[in-house]
Amino acid sequence: MSELAIRCEGLVKRYSPEVLAVDGLDLEVRRGECFGLLGPNGAGKTTTVEILEGILTPTAGRIEVLGLRWAEHAATLRARIGITLQETRLPERLTVEEILGLFRSFYAAGRTVEAVLALVGLEEKRGAWYDKLSGGQKQRLAVGCALVSEPELLFLDEPTTGLDPQSRRQLWDVVAEMKRQGRTVLLTTHYMDEAERLCDRVAIVDHGKVIAQGTPRELVARVVGQEVVEFEAPGDGVAEPELRALAGIEGVRRSGAGWALTVSRLHVAIPALLAHLDRRGLAPTALATHRASLEDVFVVLTGRRLRD
């Protein structure tokens, strides 16, 4: 049995001659890991996921899911994966329990409705009509529908966008439980904290291509460095080459009205920066440092913020 849950090589999806949604995307997701697909809106994440889910057919590329190909093993694959689409409205006038029962009936094997209710924390809402649920409860139910079959591979497309904190944490627990059982999760998100917390590895997607791939920590260290120093100086009388020449500073980029510096040794870089500003007769109007994050990785790689 293949060690990979998903192998995807040279994936291309062209909707029309002008619209190229996925442009030669390569991806390898290992069994038992939680893999995050990160990228701005329109980067091609959802198209990629829907191709992997067997909903869309690719224009070109080679894809194996759980070692099988959609063209030959569609029915087997559908029975072994669980999915949530970015937006699905379930039948308004059915109860939580009835909806789970409906989805459960499509699978030969899987969890009981009771077990799924517990898993997504909807026991108390079992008798409520779908249209009476909150947004977070609806999303949890959608995830519940994906879990009725005990899938080996779970796809979550933007599962926590716009959710209340409680529902978000509940979904994080679901992902943790999947991993604990050695199952695989592929999720897309634009919450970087979520990706750093849940994902063993991530791929950053932009313009239909993977532009970086690795563990969150690896990516941050490789692309950005360990710490980020952001500052603004009055009149902006600072030049980039001067900043680059300072001790301990590894990267320089504009950030809003000021600058963002990536550094590996904060205790060296900060005194050097302050001394430099002092020589120029400038006092920083704002100065802050944070541990470098995936957000910084994205900005460094694309020059844009993730949620622009």
Partner: protein, 356 residues
């Protein structure tokens, strides 16, 4: 699509049939929606009541006669009142003239020898009243009839407007609940991306569609008897043919219109589009297929078109079974139209159906 499944893991709970679950989901969605229940059951019954009252069979209107007051007035009034369905009243000359003008009286009789009649000959009831009055007075004056003709009364159930109407409403109801209940609901599921979600499960796609047919037939079991039973009890509408023939026609009609609904909903992406399409398909049939008046009123050149419409076939068939007691075998042209529409629309709908 079918390939060898891997050895199934032990199932913790008995699995319920997906067909049953899908059909149950349809039922629940329906009966938890009060407006759907009204349109399926309440509306046709209200329509039957309203039209049944408006076109109810009434006893013949009485012949109203004014007799001008005078010495012989009372004798004339008594002679007239002896006639069946005649209301005679003695009034003074002015009041009698007023009664004639206002339609209170159809004819004014001036007693005398010979008596005089005043009437407006352009009013049919006045000409009728004159004939009735003249005959009664002639007989009272001693005229003998040359013969007594026999009369057969023909105002029997099966020939009244309400008898025409109830099968038409039943046909119309089968059409609209098929078109809306399948076409609209399918497109709603597509718009909600529920179709896409369901298609990504191992659900057999045919089962999703079959659940609609199952549901339509089950609702028919409730719809048709309610309307026919109401017509029979409230208006004495006849059911002269075999109830099995009637049921078979209803089932064929339900299948034909469920198929058309599915066809209309097979590609539309939003419910406004499908609502327009449904009305586009149904409107010509409301007008042409003889729901409220006979389709034979249309010119002969249009008849082939009118006859080919599934609602015409259904309505003609229902009327023939209920009012004339025709057997289903004799209705083979209607049956053929319904079967052809059902088969063609399902075949095309399945080919064109869009899951996402």
């Amino acid at each position: 699509m079918i390939d060898p499944a891997p050895a199934p893991a032990p199932t913790p709970a008995p699995r319920r049939s997906p067909m049953l679950q899908l059909a149950l989901a349809r039922f629940r969605g329906f009966y938890r929606e009060p407006s759907a229940i009204f349109w399926s059951y309440g509306f046709p019954i209200l329509l039957t009541i309203a039209l049944g009252i408006a076109f109810r069979a009434r006893p013949p209107d009485p012949v109203r006669v004014a007799v001008v007051a005078g010495p012989q007035a009372e004798a004339v009034r008594a002679a007239l009142a002896a006639g069946e369905g005649v209301l005679a009243e003695v009034l003074d000359a002015d009041a009698a003239a007023r009664a004639l003008r206002s339609g209170q009286a159809a004819v004014v009789v001036r007693p005398g020898s010979p008596p005089g009649y005043a009437l407006d000959p352009t009013r049919p009831e006045s000409r009728l009243a004159r004939a009735v009055v003249d005959e009664l007075l002639q007989r009272a004056a001693g005229r003998r009839d040359a013969f007594a003709a026999t009369v057969a009364v023909t105002a029997e159930p099966g020939a009244r407007y309400v008898d025409f109407l109830v099968p038409g409403l039943l046909g119309m109801n089968i059409m609209s609940s098929g078109m809306w209940g399948v076409g609209w609901v399918v497109v709603e599921d597509r718009q909600k991306k529920l179709l896409k979600r369901l298609a990504a499960t191992p659900m057999r796609r045919g089962e999703y569609l079959a659940a609609f047919l199952f549901m339509r037939l089950a609702f028919l079991v409730a719809e048709a008897p309610v309307l026919v039973g109401f017509g029979m009890l409230a208006f004495g509408v006849p059911l002269r043919g075999h109830v099995v023939d009637l049921a078979a026609l209803c089932v064929l009609g339900a299948l034909a219109f469920a198929g058309l609904g599915l066809l209309v909903g097979s590609r539309a992406r939003n419910s406004q589009t499908v609502a327009g399409l449904i009305n586009l398909v149904m409107m010509p049939m409301f007008v042409l297929s003889g729901v409220f008046f006979s389709a034979r009123n249309f010119p002969a050149a249009m008849q082939p078109l009118v006859r080919a419409l599934p609602l015409t076939a259904l309505n003609d068939g229902l009327r023939a079974v209920m009012n004339d007691g025709t057997s289903l075998l004799a209705l083979w042209p209607q049956v053929l139209v319904l079967v052809a529409v059902a088969a063609a629309s399902f075949a095309l709908a399945l080919r064109w159906f869009r899951w996402s």
